[in-house]
């Protein structure tokens, strides 16, 4: 639980640290939003050992759904966000049921295929989604009467959601359910042999991680007040894989570290060079080759050594 407290303090203090250094609140919000995405993704990749390259689909689907409702209906913000998350969750259940029996690379390829399907629908269904132009001028309504129009307030809104997401993930990881997920990652055949319905657990992990992606997606669209097809293409799906790996798979703090660092770096580097993706690629290669356990993995190990 100390990690949660530390996270709360960091989230509260971040604007005081970053803004004097030349950062801005919107960047902080973006870092925190992707942390939510990565926290959920880590439950799937880090704890259950399932690689998905299509989670941006749920990120984008929730964002679009919420955006459309905010534009075309009088629903309050909380209801539009909830609707976005529910729709994305249902999509994850249906797709998950179809593909969860496949393993490894086949599963990963199918997630790309389904992810790209959503991307192309967003591109082509112009009358609904605005096609390539996306949905712009999405109103950022008040959340239960709390006005979110200022960047500072919106950041703290995202920070609270992120903290809640971390608490939920913590509870999942330290539950019996989380123990079974780890068991499946370590030895799927044996998990089934002692009586766990492996497919159901994997599906649950898939849907839970998609729900985190969906929450993150609604916040992202609210931040930009804009939804566009690239929110759900496979590059964004790949990004969250990178964040998880760089941060440290299967560690609690890893995805938060990875998401904030990658988001910050890509913003910072893209400000200085248009070849920022090249630099990010190099960073990723270095991590996979030389620090496969990610930042959090090595920090935790160093900490254990010091305490000994």
């Amino acid at each position: 639980m100390r990690s949660i407290l530390a996270l709360a303090v960091l989230l509260a203090a971040a604007p005081l640290l970053i803004v004097p250094l030349g950062g801005y609140h919107a960047l902080l919000s973006e870092m925190v939003i992707f942390a939510v995405f990565a926290i959920g993704f880590n439950l799937l990749l880090g704890y259950t050992g399932i690689l998905s390259f299509g989670h941006a689909a749920y990120f984008g689907l929730a964002g679009y759904t919420m955006g459309l409702l905010l534009i075309h209906s009088a629903l309050p913000l909380w209801a539009a966000m909830l609707a976005g998350v529910v729709v994305a969750g249902m999509a994850a259940v249906i797709i998950g049921l179809l593909i969860i029996r496949k393993a490894g690379i086949y599963f990963a390829m199918l997630t790309i295929a389904f992810g790209q399907m959503f991307f192309f629908v967003a591109m082509r269904w112009k009358s609904l989604t605005g096609g390539e132009d996306g949905l712009s001028d999405i109103p950022r309504k008040a959340f239960f009467g709390i006005d979110l129009s200022s960047p500072v307030r919106f950041y703290y809104f995202c920070a609270v959601v992120c903290l809640a997401a971390a608490v939920v993930a913590w509870r999942v990881i330290h539950s019996r359910f989380g123990d079974v997920l780890r068991a499946i990652r370590e030895n799927e055949a044996r998990s089934a042999a002692i009586g766990y319905d492996v497919r159901r657990y994997k599906l649950a992990a898939f849907v839970i991680s998609a729900l985190f992606a969906a929450v993150s997606g609604t916040l992202y669209v609210l931040l930009l007040r804009y939804a566009f097809p690239q929110t759900m293409d496979w590059i964004r799906s790949g990004n969250v894989v990178v964040m998880s790996l760089v941060g440290g798979l299967g560690t609690f703090s890893g995805p938060i570290v990875g998401a904030t660092l990658i988001t910050f770096l890509s913003n910072y580097i893209s400000f200085h060079t248009k070849y920022w993706q090249l630099v990010m690629g190099a960073v990723f290669v270095v991590f996979v080759m030389f620090f496969p356990r990610g930042i959090a993995g090595y920090v935790l190990e160093a900490w254990r050594r010091i305490r000994r």
Binding site: D179, A189, R190, A192, A193, I194
Partner: protein
Amino acid sequence: MSEIFRTEGLSVRFGALAAVDGMDLSIEQGSIHCVIGPNGAGKTTLFNLLTGTIRPSAGRIVFRGEDVTGLKPHELARKGIARSFQITSIFPELTVRENLRLAARAGRASDPEARVREVLEEIELASKASVQAGFMSHGDQRHLDIGIALATSPALLLLDEPTAGMPPHETEGTVALVRRLRDQHGYTVILIEHKMDIVMSISDRITVMRSGKKIAEGTPTQVQADPVVREAYLGGVDPRLSERAHETGAPAEPGPPLLTLEGVSASYGLSQILHDIQLTVRGGEIVALLGRNGAGKTTTLRTIMGLLPPRRGTIRFDGHDITRLSPESVADLGVGLVPEGRRVFANLTVGENLLLPFFMSGVPAVERTSQLRRCFEWFPALVQRKSNRGDQLSGGEQQMVAVARAVVGRRRFLMLDEPSQGLAPRVVNHLAEIILEIRKQGVTVLLVEQNARMALEIADRAYVLEDGRIVHEDAAAVLRENPAVLGKHLVM
């Protein structure tokens, strides 16, 4: 006593192979029932059927009076059927206690922690409860594997070679454990085991399998006396084979040593498989390497081939030190290996399979054609199967392709791993003639076999391996007339 478990006509086919064929089993409550049989008889496949990993193509499984055929592994586990694994299957990154807790919860134990404590005592790992499972010794991991099955509080326990890879002193502990489970806790156990002294002392009943079929069943005494069983282990052999062997005979003067192993030891991870192996094969010889399952025969071949670097010792081939060479370099010197289970490429035709050795070696097309032609001369049965895919062949035909593939490309030395496995006696005899023919063409042969009788009919000399050590070496003709040695090391 009453029946707890039965199968009726249980069968499964993999392509052309009937891996388990019409199996009828009846297991008494509270008994230890052993399933034995030569390598490849289908014992582990039977376990996979009983635990739902494989679906049967025909037949029924009845557990406590309920038809459980076709249920998935986790459903069978919840009904109360638990298994351990031949190749250790644990959760290596979790502690011993966490391993057991997962199983106790899966088994819906009313008090999982209490169940974990009971099992820890039972498998004698209480002092290592907080150790990460993957860091334990092989023997401790084997016990944990059984413990995980026990922690689910099953009604029927399936143990797949619980003593696999264990040295004798650890084996005793495991046997005592299995005995305790039945005597003190009333478990019903189905056991696959190869060490015959264990099987004979522990079993209430024994089922003997061969080529997927039940060939005998009864008490240890009945099974031991059954001529069919002895036949299954020693193999049925055409008596004219040794005459043929004599005709095509070994060179009167065996050539200089072609292959020598000096003090070779090898390990897989923590468990040492080979201990100080001394072995010589002279040019033009057929040498047999005999031993029970798990004795280290395949490991010896893998070590020679460079697939498993030895811990200690030297391997020489034709004057070269090949101890640390890669498999490709060993192959380039003219060494061929026909691995166990044949490994014929299912998607390639017979012709394509045979051409594979040429792809990397830059052999001119003319040479390739003439080699192929020679190959079909040796194996005339393959000519009409030339365009058939690997998975359309019978087991015997697959074996011929595997042997042919290993001798094309000018191999001078051929190692065969259990070539007779899963083949009908008639096909085995044909195969033996092929091996003799190959030798006649100047190829030296090292033959690993469980079918000792066939191997000894055609071999010049033989080594017997037991627990990774050479325990006997003699002329094949002498061993043939000496059933005492054979019985001691190979049968029961």
